[in-house]
Symmetry: C2
């Protein structure tokens, strides 16, 4: 039997590859960054006494080159194009590893799927999500961030992370 784990493989995903608005203005930058990240990963593996394997390389490389908020299912599909025998579990484990290494960010946009994105070189951002076409647009707003901290401080909290998601309709869908 084929992997019965993944069901809704071919109906369009709830949050398909959303266009990003800030990154990867040109391919050169992406390429360079990917190489750097592979080195960072190599360091991280060595530091932990982990082995450098073909699968990890394929999966990380595929992820680093993706500029979307990608689900495990989507990533697994991509990886299998180059490495058809790669298992879903290995993709899962590798993305967990990349997250621990600080090379991936786990996101949860409210559909049932965990998504991963590359760590942005220009700092934290939040997300706008179109309820119709699932486009995801990223934004940074320092004023909001400051107000969040101020509010938290007033209530006696130390904020270590936050989640700000704006759901609505994009230019094309409103």
């Amino acid at each position: 039997m084929e992997t019965p784990k993944i069901k809704n493989t071919d109906n369009l995903p709830p949050f398909a590859a959303g266009a990003r608005v800030r990154y990867n203005k040109n391919q050169k930058m992406t390429k360079q960054r990917t190489e750097t990240k592979m080195e960072l990963l190599a360091n991280c593996l060595e530091k932990r006494g982990l082995k450098s394997t073909k699968q990890r390389h394929y999966i990380a490389d595929t992820f680093f080159r993706s500029n979307t908020h990608i689900s495990l299912e989507e990533l697994h599909k991509k990886v299998k194009r180059k490495s058809p025998r790669a298992g879903y579990a290995t993709v899962y484990r590798t993305m967990k590893l990349l997250t621990e290494c600080g090379l991936a960010i786990e996101r949860q946009f409210g559909d049932g799927q965990t998504r991963f994105e590359n760590v942005p070189e220009d700092g934290h951002h939040d997300h706008l999500i179109c309820l119709k076409c699932s486009e995801i647009v990223e934004f940074q707003n320092e004023t909001i961030e400051q107000l969040q901290d101020k509010t938290a401080t007033e209530l006696g909290f130390n904020v270590v992370r936050h989640k700000l998601e704006l759901y609505g309709y994009c230019k094309n869908c409103k």
Copy 2:
């Protein structure tokens, strides 16, 4: 066999009954509001051609009297004190109904559990969540709301709802 659905019933829940900071200053208000809500529910049921049942009454009443962000499991446990044969599925269906009627809000704070809270009479609020003791503090910040809308508008979005959660350590836990 007992319901095998609910597993982690007795180890402390990841987001236990968090103290609220804004509501239910006195019990009178809660009581009055609960009665009003029961009427609203009755209207909603009638409008939909649904029946008024003992279970719905118990569940809604228990929920309206709770002033926490309560999970189905927690609510089910409470309901069973008065109505021991009440099933989890009925609690689930009733909370779905209350949500559709605009009498409950579904929340997702990042642990695997969906939580429900009463609709506040003083409008929308967002949440601070303690990563250690799971206290949940509510806040309102109109400036942040406006900045969200402004940001979205600049990027061509119409926001219909949003999610803002600040995770950190509360007064007692920092």
